[in-house]
């Protein structure tokens, strides 16, 4: 039983280990970018629901952009 698990585990590690570091990093950054842009597919009425006015600073899609931009900085440098 444990041999089977070890074989499965080792194969999985070999597959994941084949991904180069730069590719993993690029995929992570791509994921962040996708998440930031996903907000723009939501209707404006949903974004501003209950907001007292529709001034640009209340547009939460831009808030999400800032948060994700902050997130990307360390992953670009480290």
């Amino acid at each position: 039983m444990s041999e089977l698990w070890n074989t499965l585990g080792n194969n999985l590690i070999a597959v994941l280990g084949a991904f180069p570091h730069w590719l993993v990093k690029a995929l992570v950054l791509l994921g962040f970018a996708g998440l930031a842009l996903a907000g723009f597919f939501l209707p404006k009425s949903y974004i501003f629901q209950d907001a007292t006015d529709r001034k640009p600073w209340r547009d939460l899609r831009y808030w999400a952009l800032v948060v994700i931009a902050l997130e990307m900085i360390p992953y670009l440098f480290f």
Partner: protein
């Protein structure tokens, strides 16, 4: 850690100020809604600040710095990739949907979305976890304060030390700290409810940031900035070559190789925490509007981006400056404070430490009281009582949890495995909890039978993998909690989908307003919301 008179003054000022501020909010508590959800009056900035400081505890300062010292910047993943992406999802999907549903707790949502059995199991699991966790938090608090706060030499001209030293030695007994913190937090949480918790959190966040930034500013200056920090650590030898890599290779011996970080942390534990942890989500449920719930969550993301700098970087600075002096990595942070900071500043950092500690305890206390009152007491024991009755029950439970936590805390010391068991328990329930919440929020076809089967499948997988690891060393890591969370989530997803598809779909009336897309597109729900906004 030696504290001077000025340090004690700052700490006492902070401590008394927080208790007075928290107790002030008692005047606004007239109903159970005021107590548990702050009367749905919380503004976005308070929600954001409270979310961050509730997440970061005093243990994080010690443990994350220690892990940073040992493994490097990779621990920052817990506060970057482990926070910001799920915060975006929480802001746009879970927070507004749960806020619209008008629920007080996550199990309450599960009950509305699936059935009462799912609610009961979830309520019991979370109630038990939060309550047991209080005992651990109290004990950890006592241990840390005992380590760092000696009986002062100068208090009342040295008389206090002369009297107490023969009885207690150089340090206050652990139980003195536990009782002091427990009673202080219990007073304002039990009287002012969520408003008191959130508003004291606002002050605590400011204190935590000021104290944390002070350590980093002095530390980075000493080490010669970021480039000096890197040079000093790389110079320690090749075993430190990955100390500035956020994504570690698959075969890295630490518990944090990139697949564990991506699959276990980013895909499961982090969303489970930010979307489904009662102690976190409760303040967004108390938002004064849906926009405030979303904005508060995003504001927390903005503030949270700075957290790794406050809690992980001290470990790296400690390594760069005192690699050969610090034997135990968990002592890197206190050692840094002891060596670098002058009197007065030490008091400020200690106040920051207390802020992190008290804000986490009050959040867990308030959420535990809410869960037990709403999901156990009100749902299964005494259904049709007055609102006043449930408010009183919430307050009594808060007091009981403080007392229980204080008395349970020393037990943790005798059974070291209790702490580990509670952490394992959290890992066991996070995967299935996330699967049920995500399907509840996003997939209208998910039903009660599927959820129940998925919950059991996830829990069984967690426990099974944990047992296999114990006896057969299934994973290469010693503590593969991230992998266990991932596979229990996968099992829960597979079973929930299969059973839901094989059984009857829920009726549209049952899930109305509870599924993200339906709540967003339902004209009647929208009209009701607009009417409510108009006044």
């Amino acid at each position: 850690m030696a504290l001077a008179g000025i340090d004690f003054f700052i700490i006492i000022l902070y401590f008394v100020g927080v208790v007075i501020l928290g107790t002030y909010f008692t005047r606004y508590v007239k109903s159970s809604g005021d107590f548990f959800l702050a009367g749905k009056m919380l503004p976005w900035w308070a929600i954001g600040m409270s979310l961050v400081v509730s997440d970061i505890g005093a243990l994080d300062f010690i443990a994350v710095s220690g892990q940073g010292f040992k493994y490097g910047i990779v621990v920052a993943n817990f506060d970057w990739i482990g926070c910001l992406p799920p915060i975006i999802l929480a802001a746009f999907i879970s927070a507004p949907t749960l806020w619209r549903a008008g629920v007080y707790t996550i199990p309450e949502y599960m009950g509305l979305r699936y059935n009462n059995l799912v609610r009961a199991i979830q309520g019991l699991l979370w109630g038990l976890f939060l309550t047991a966790n209080l005992g651990v938090m109290f004990w950890a608090t006592g241990l840390m304060l005992n380590e760092f706060v000696p009986i002062p030499d100068t208090l009342l001209g040295g008389t206090v030390k002369a009297v107490l030293e023969p009885v207690w030695g150089e340090h206050w007994p652990i139980m003195v700290h536990i009782i002091l913190i427990g009673v202080a937090v219990g007073i304002y949480t039990g009287s002012g409810g969520l408003s008191a918790v959130v508003m004291t959190d606002v002050v605590q966040l400011v204190v935590m940031f000021v104290g944390g930034i002070a350590v980093i500013a002095v530390g980075l200056y000493q080490v010669g900035g970021i480039s000096g920090l890197k040079e000093a650590i790389y110079a320690l030898g090749p075993e430190y070559s990955h100390h500035f890599d956020l994504l570690l290779p698959v075969d890295h011996p630490s518990p944090y190789p990139w697949p564990a970080i991506i699959f276990g942390l980013a895909f499961v534990l982090a969303p489970a925490y930010w979307l489904g942890n009662q102690a976190i989500i409760q303040r967004t449920l108390g938002a004064q509007s849906e926009w405030d719930a979303k904005a508060g969550t995003l504001f927390a993301g903005f503030l949270h981006a700075l957290i790794p700098i406050l809690i992980a970087f001290p470990g790296l600075i400690g390594l760069a400056l005192y690699a050969h002096e610090v034997q135990n990595s968990d002592l890197a942070f206190p050692y840094l404070i002891h060596k670098l900071l002058p009197a007065g500043m030490t008091g400020l950092v200690f106040a920051a430490f207390m802020a992190a500690l008290m804000s986490s305890v009050d959040s867990v206390l308030n959420s535990a009281a809410t869960l037990w009152t709403r999901d156990i007491y009100q749902q299964f024991l005494f259904r049709r009582k007055s609102d006043r009755h449930y408010l009183t029950v919430g307050r009594i439970l808060t007091a009981l949890f403080v007392l229980g936590g204080i008395f349970a805390a020393p037990v943790v010391n005798y059974f070291e495995s209790i702490y580990q068991a509670i952490q394992n328990f959290l890992t066991f329930i996070q995967g299935p909890n996330l699967a049920l919440l995500l399907f509840g929020l996003l997939w209208k076809r998910a039903n009660g039978k599927g959820a129940l089967a998925g919950l059991f499948a996830g829990l069984t997988t967690s426990i099974g993998l944990f047992t296999l690891q114990r006896f057969y060393h299934l994973f290469t890591q010693d503590d593969p909690f991230l992998y266990i969370a991932w596979w229990s989530f996968v099992a829960s997803v597979a079973v929930t989908v299969s059973v839901s598809l094989l059984t009857k779909p829920p009726s549209p009336d049952k899930i109305r307003g509870l599924v993200f897309r339906l709540a967003r597109e339902d004209r009647e729900v929208q009209a009701a919301l607009e009417k409510r906004a108009e006044g």
